[in-house]
């Protein structure tokens, strides 16, 4: 009986997600250009992920993006949310709506907007001019040194609102008596934050980190629309390499292997962060 209710969902899920995943693992053991006969290469494609300098660099870039997408928004979000949580501010609903807005806009639109801001005659350079730092101006996405941080900065913009709202929700659930007790003990804002706020939102922090780290590892649209991995290969990331290798370079086996590695990495990170977050509760 239960199986009948489950069957339609399971069929679609198995055909379009589970089976392709199995096939991805299978393809990853072959050297294949997508057209001619594939030849078995065993774990060679996986070895390449570690050995190939370009691929290693792509995974390295993903690490940099984790700093921008996950670490920075979590730190900023913690500060912002704890400030907002201390005082009753008017207009909080409006603020919440505005800072969450980036989450609902298509990444392609976000990328188009930021390309404009980073352009040589764009908003960022005008802003620098206005504060007398015009000499720092450049084509941010075309510069070897700044292209990757520029993309990372878009991630910070995109994720900070989400993290802040998530942490605010968590802090709203803290028992006010805990703060009163801390104050009676003579705790200042910083001690209060470290002793009461931070331990209480450990669960929210772990959710925020899981979400944002995964988002960082899956940055495809943003890279595709802004830089296509360039200049040179300074902004190539694993998800872009999957697309690039499978559909531009004809290295399908290698692309599948990168996709599998990315999946394993995402599972592992979610698992570890969730475990660390859970341990705090018990």
């Amino acid at each position: 009986m239960a199986y009948l209710y489950l069957l339609p969902a399971f069929l679609v899920y198995a055909a379009f997600l589970l089976y392709p995943l199995v096939r991805a693992v299978q393809i990853s053991f072959y050297d294949w250009d997508g057209l001619t006969l594939a030849s078995w290469v065993g774990f060679q494609n996986y070895a390449d992920v570690l050995a190939d300098e370009g691929l290693r660099a792509a995974f390295g870039h993903a690490l940099v993006l984790i700093g921008f997408f996950a670490v920075l928004p979590t730190v900023v979000g913690l500060v912002l949310a704890s400030i907002l949580n201390r005082a009753r501010v008017r207009g909080l609903p409006f603020f919440r709506t505005v800072v969450f807005l980036p989450q609902v806009i298509a990444m392609v639109v976000v990328a188009v907007a930021w390309r404009r801001i980073f352009a040589p005659d764009g908003g960022l350079n005008s802003l620098l001019d206005a504060v007398g730092l015009g000499s720092l101006g450049r084509a941010w996405l075309g510069d070897y040194g700044t292209a990757l941080p520029a993309i990372g900065f878009v991630g910070t913009w995109f994720e900070t609102g989400l993290v802040t709202i998530l942490l605010l929700a968590g802090m709203g659930r803290i028992n006010p008596e805990l703060y009163e007790a801390a104050r009676l003990d003579g705790a200042g804002p910083v001690r209060e934050f470290l002793a009461v706020t931070l331990p209480s939102v450990r669960g929210e922090i772990s959710v925020a980190l899981t979400l944002t780290v995964i988002a960082a590892l899956r940055t495809f649209d943003l890279v595709y629309v802004t830089t296509r991995g360039g200049p040179g290969t300074t902004t190539s990331v694993p998800s872009y390499e999957v697309y690039n290798r499978a559909f531009q370079l004809g290295q399908v086996g290698s692309a599948a292997a990168i996709g599998v590695c990315l999946t394993v990495l995402i599972f592992a990170i979610s698992f570890v962060i969730t475990r660390i977050g859970d341990r705090g509760d018990s």
Binding site: M1, A2, Y5, L6, A9, F10, V12, Y13, A15, F16, L17, L18, P20, R23, A24, Q26, I27, L80, R86, A87, V89, F95, R96, V98, F100, L101, V104, I105, A106, M107, V108, V109, A113, W114, I117, G123, W157, T160, I165, L166, A169, P176, Y179, V207, T210, L211, A215, R218, F220, Y224, V225, S239, A246, V252, I258, G259, L262, T263, F267, S270
Partner: protein, 273 residues
């Protein structure tokens, strides 16, 4: 909590600065889309707002076609996801059967699985059976991804919904099917609305799957159309900005109306991303 005057002022300064930062790119696009064409072409203006840019982008960029495709795909994916997820969530949430745990973990796997992992075999296998460059190649993989999340979402809801209620209905002689459609589903409306909102947004904004699955221009979704419009139309930013506004508007309008559902859904069901 009472805080000093200085701290309150500082709070507002921080709030406003942060809100401005969040709005910066959005305002940039809006201002450009409403401004005079930066390629020098003359357009009519209404109260200084060049609304003609939208009409021009609509024609040149063929956004009418893309929006239609996006609307079709999103409607189809949302409808399929809701029906399939309600059924599967009901089985997981209210019934006991063999292999329940294993099957549930299998669905959970799908929530975390990135499209990057499956898009390569999907393309080559669908091409082999002649399905690439069709509506189905864009829609079905997204139904599968959303069903994984939807099943998880509805299961959580049905589990928390009152067991007493289900028992009472059963004693009254209602069949399993009637309990679902006449007792549980009407009560589950808030959960279903949130699911609809999230799946609609994810489908509307999806980029990789349509990019890989279709080359036919008439099958492009709105974000895909925008990305290609950017490649072709590089002489000015005005029309590109107008196109960007057209692509973003449906979800943003929905968000402004249903933000409670958006925010609650994103925070609770957050594991999918």
């Amino acid at each position: 909590m009472r805080v000093g005057r200085g701290e309150r002022t500082a709070n507002y300064v921080i709030l406003i600065a942060f809100a401005l930062f969040a709005l910066w790119p959005i305002v940039t696009v809006l201002v450009s889309a409403l401004g005079a064409d930066d390629t020098g072409a003359q357009g009519s203006s209404f109260a200084g707002l060049h609304l003609g840019n939208f009409a021009q982008a609509w024609d040149i960029g063929r956004f009418g076609t893309y929006l239609r495709m996006s609307a079709l795909v999103s409607t189809f994916v949302v409808a399929c996801t809701v029906v399939l997820s309600v059924l599967a969530g009901y089985a997981f949430g209210c019934m006991r059967f063999r292999g329940q745990t294993v099957l549930f973990y299998l669905f959970l796997l799908g929530i975390m699985m990135p499209s990057e992992a499956v898009v390569v075999p999907l393309f080559f296998d669908l091409r082999a059976i002649g399905l690439t460059d069709t509506f189905w190649a864009v829609a079905m993989p997204q139904v599968a991804q959303s069903v994984a999340f939807g099943t998880f979402w509805m299961r959580a809801y049905f589990r928390s919904s009152s067991r007493v209620l289900v028992e009472a209905a059963r004693i009254d002689g209602a069949s399993t099917r009637r309990i679902l459609w006449q007792v549980l589903v009407p009560l589950a409306r808030p959960a279903i609305v949130t699911l609809v909102v999230l799946v609609f947004m994810w489908t509307w904004n999806e980029f990789l799957i349509p990019l890989v699955m279709v080359t036919d221009e008439s099958l492009r979704t709105a974000p895909l159309g925008l990305a290609f419009f950017q490649g072709q139309y590089t002489s000015g930013f005005t029309l590109l900005a107008a196109g960007a506004v057209i692509v973003a508007t449906p979800v943003v309008v929905l968000y402004l109306f249903l933000q409670r559902h958006f925010i609650a859904g994103m925070l609770e069901g957050a594991i999918r991303e």
